[in-house]
């Protein structure tokens, strides 16, 4: 994978290219941006461009091949061990960086999910990050730069990565997975600019089940409580998919919110359910929709904190089906 093969991130790649060409590559970079947009790919492409014989990342020389196979002796990958990156891992990296490079011109340390470094680990990295011994290139990757120590951030050159545009993800989904346009649109909209999310999504859930779920949801009314409780029980039983289902609900109510404000229909996610959206829009007010979205956010928090699932779902559905008149 070299720079040319990466989709998007033109500006970021341009910056790195120019730095390489003018020999102004810094010793420490911080790539930050949403998960799954290609930070790691760009980092590897950068390493490949520095290690490769012709300086482009040809993909044919030994160095390029070794990088592609993840067995280059001069690249050291660091990933969270369990939940966090521990001080021991950082010490190992420092030890490795102290040696001379075996094949390449310098040693490279690639720290993925740098925000998961423990406080001790992060502090232990500080001196190395400021003035690494010998030739070293450190690349830190993180989706949440604000969780890093200020002192770490200040020692790296930050490079911000942005989400992919909706159109690009849609195109790729259409081409690579052969999805129909509406389906590609829905998946792309729900993936929020991240390829990882777009490809990782459960197609069946997002395309087929979504329709049924939303139909059931909009069919509920506050008048008959039994179906509401039954649906809550069903939701609670879908343990693994529950966060995704909530996301689908969120997207639906966002559509309603946008519709209420007369936004362009192409912005909506659930293109195939326009009738439903219009129907719900007619009976809801802005405040009611905002309340429902808040209820969904609250349900998410509840799930994260291990609240009784069924209870959380019941509360959520009761709030979602509440009459909008009551809110006015």
């Amino acid at each position: 994978m070299n720079f040319d093969q990466i989709l998007g991130h033109d500006r970021q790649i341009e910056i790195l290219r120019r730095a390489l060409n003018t020999d102004r590559l810094a010793h420490a970079y911080l790539f930050h941006g949403p998960d799954g947009v290609g930070k790691r790919l760009v980092a590897l492409a950068l390493v490949q461009a520095t290690f490769c014989i012709d300086g482009q990342g040809c993909g044919r020389c030994t160095a390029c091949k070794k990088i592609a196979h993840r067995n280059h002796p001069d690249i050291h990958f660091l990933e969270p061990d369990g939940n966090s990156i521990k001080i021991e891992q950082i010490r190992n990296l420092q030890r490795e960086l102290n040696f001379r490079p075996l094949e390449a011109s310098c040693k490279v340390g690639l720290i993925d999910h740098a925000e998961r470094m423990t406080v001790g680990a992060a502090n232990a990295l500080l001196k190395t990050l400021e003035e690494p011994t010998g030739n070293a290139l450190l690349i830190l990757l993180t989706p949440q730069p604000q969780r890093l120590l200020e002192t770490i951030r200040s020692r790296c050159q930050p490079l911000q990565f942005t989400r992919h545009t909706h159109a690009r993800i849609k195109d790729v989904l259409e081409q690579k997975l052969g999805l129909a346009e509406t389906e590609a649109h829905i998946l792309a909209a729900l993936s929020d600019g991240s390829f990882k999310k777009a490809f990782g999504k459960d197609k069946e859930l997002y395309l087929e089940k979504r329709r049924d779920l939303l139909k059931t949801l909009t069919g509920l009314s506050s008048g008959s409580i039994l179906p509401v409780l039954e649906f809550a029980e069903y939701l609670a039983s879908e343990k693994a998919d529950l966060p995704d289902i909530l996301e689908i609900f969120q997207a639906f109510f966002r559509d309603v919110l946008l519709m209420l404000h007369h936004q362009d229909e192409s912005r909506l996610v659930n293109q195939d359910l326009m009738d439903r959206i219009r129907q719900v829009t007619r009976r809801e007010s802005t405040t009611a929709v905002l309340d429902k979205l808040e209820a969904l956010a609250a349900a998410n928090t509840h799930l994260e904190r291990n609240v009784n699932r069924q209870l959380a779902m019941e509360v959520l559905l009761l709030r979602l089906t509440a009459d909008s008149e009551r809110h006015i």
């Binding site: 341009e14 910056i15 020999d23 500080l126 050159q157 989400r163 996301e247 905002l290």
Partner: protein, 553 residues
């Protein structure tokens, strides 16, 4: 990688290069000149303000072969060794990697030996806050009385993590954040030395981006150079720093202030399409709102906001349309959103939701105005608020048990414009001279236009005679003058019994109110279902209604 980033290349090499930390430089230079050098120093301050650099400069100054001086030569082997970090006698220890008590024990073993070449053996412990408690304690004795040839320099960003026992053994220097102007100045020097073409405005942006840290500013400059080469355009800098276009921000704030949710959603789409980080967008909104608030509260905001005139005018225009409370509320909400955005699985939705919510907020009302309105309302309802003491009995309702329909509010007591004054005066007199006060209560205020106060009594009444006694008249006049705070001519005149147009005396008012109340109490009682039942069963009649609260008033 032969390239050294600017922050390392331009690391200050003597005290005069240490920008923004003149107080530290001067103190240390004076200490060296006068030979009063402490054996342990603690440098604290934010990231990238020069702590480690200062530690190295101090080490060089102490060990320079040209002699102890505040200006290290940077040429002798000793100085060069320290610069390259290889000095035999200057040990730079990474406190965060060597945190254990064993590391400190090793250091203590080491400290006994004399320096090999230089004057002092210097231990620089960077990131010292990461040492374990045991390690700190193991250091205490050594730190208090080290051998003569040993010096300690600690550097840390987090002094609060260091035990007080360590703090008290060190000379502490607090490094300040570096003001933007000084950073800009230094950047200009470096840019010139590196032969860069860059405008002052861009340098200002870069400096501001550093937020008081030289290293951050230099990293940014590095990035700018990497992107643009030697000639740097303003637009590139702005794009590189990921700054959201100002127009977009101003439009957003305008839309918020105009409660235009639709336009807000359009703007969010634009921001999204341009690929800006939503967090940064919110952050810049907050910064702009800060500007607005400053425009609102400060007469000339020039010093606090360094903006171009044009931008300032635009801000002031926006600020005029908004109330301070509204702005503060928006800032609070946006700051909350900013925190939520980083954890949100669906950030775009979070932002849209929040902005729509903010736009739909009802406009705030100034609390002061509300209170004034309340007071006005209270006055209007109470009728005679200044001294309600005699009225209170009438006001406390004696409601029988529940089930009775709520009573109609009492008919407002007929008030003449002067009745408040009269009541107040009587109250005051009662406090000083109870006897005279009760006499006054029977009088009818015929004229209450200070300085003329005329009070009428039934002709030939005992009260009139009493009041007309010169002594009492004198006392009353004094009291009245104190009450009205002006000269008062007090007269008491006799009135005919039949004269009906004279205003009623306080006693009469009270009686009237009392009878009125009794009448209504009776009506209420009559309607009480329990009472009705009793009347029906026993075939009784109501003889008397006694209010139950009377005894407690």
């Amino acid at each position: 990688m032969a390239y050294l980033v600017l922050a390392r290349k331009w690391r200050p090499q003597n005290f005069s290069d240490l920008i923004g930390q003149e107080h530290v430089g001067q103190t240390l230079a004076n200490a060296i000149r006068s030979g009063r050098i402490h054996h342990a120093f603690l440098f604290t301050g934010a990231r990238g303000v020069g702590k480690t650099s200062a530690a190295r400069i101090l080490a060089k100054a102490l060990n320079c072969e040209q002699g102890l001086s505040e200006q290290p030569c940077n040429e002798c082997p000793s100085c060069l060794e320290i610069t390259s970090g290889q000095g035999m006698d200057v040990l730079e220890i990474d406190g965060a990697s060597n945190t254990g008590v064993d590391d400190i024990r090793e250091l203590r073993e080491n400290i006994r030996y004399l320096p090999s070449r230089a004057r002092f053996k210097i231990f620089i412990i960077d990131e010292v806050h990461m040492l374990s408690t045991n390690a700190f304690n193991a250091l205490l004795k050594t730190l208090e009385e080290p051998p003569e040839h040993a010096k300690f320099i600690f550097a840390t960003t987090e002094p609060h993590k260091i035990p007080v026992t360590i703090l008290s053994r060190c000379q502490r220097f607090d490094f300040r954040k570096i003001p933007v102007q000084k950073v800009t100045q230094r950047l200009r020097e470096i840019a010139d030395a590196e032969a860069l073409q860059i405008s002052d405005r861009s340098l200002g942006l870069v400096a501001r981006h550093g937020e008081g840290s030289m290293r951050d500013a230099l990293s940014t400059l590095d990035q700018v150079i990497a992107f643009c080469g030697e000639t740097i355009a303003d637009d590139d800098v702005q794009a590189l720093l990921g700054m959201v276009d100002r127009r977009l921000l101003l439009d957003t704030i305008e839309a918020i202030l105009q409660h235009d949710s639709r336009r807000l959603l359009d703007l969010v789409r634009q921001v999204d399409q341009l690929g800006h980080s939503l967090r940064q967008f919110v952050q810049e909104l907050v910064e702009l709102l800060r500007g607005l608030i400053i425009c609102k509260v400060v007469a000339d905001p020039d010093d606090l906001l360094d903006l171009v005139d044009e931008e300032l005018k635009e801000l002031q225009k926006l600020a005029e349309a908004a109330s301070l409370e509204d702005l503060q509320r928006i800032v609070t909400l946006l700051m909350k959103v900013q925190a939520e955005l980083s954890n949100s699985p669906y950030p775009l939705l979070t932002l849209e939701m929040a902005l729509v919510r903010i736009a739909n907020l009802a406009p705030t009302q100034e609390i002061g105005a509300l209170i004034r309105q309340l007071e006005l309302l209270e006055k209007r309802l109470a009728g005679a608020p200044v001294s309600a003491a005699p009225v209170r009995g009438a006001k406390a309702e004696s409601s029988p048990t529940g089930g009775v329909p709520p009573k109609k509010p009492e008919a407002p007591v007929a008030t003449k414009p002067d009745s408040t004054d009269w009541q107040g005066l009587v109250e005051k007199v009662r406090q000083k001279r109870p006897l005279l006060g009760s006499l006054l209560e029977h009088g009818r205020p015929l004229a209450m236009a200070p300085p003329q106060v005329d009070i009428g009594y039934p002709k030939g009444s005992f009260m009139l005679v009493q009041l007309l006694e010169p002594e009492n008249l004198q006392d009353l006049t004094t009291l009245a003058e104190a009450y009205f705070q002006q000269k008062i001519k007090l007269t008491f005149s006799a009135i005919e019994e039949e004269q009906q147009d004279a205003p009623p005396s306080l006693v009469e008012t009270r009686e009237a109110r009392e009878t009125d109340r009794m009448r209504r109490l009776r009506e209420d009682a009559m309607q009480h279902p329990a009472l009705k039942n009793v009347l029906e069963i026993f075939d009784g009649e109501i003889v008397k209604v006694i209010p139950t609260d009377k005894g407690f008033v």
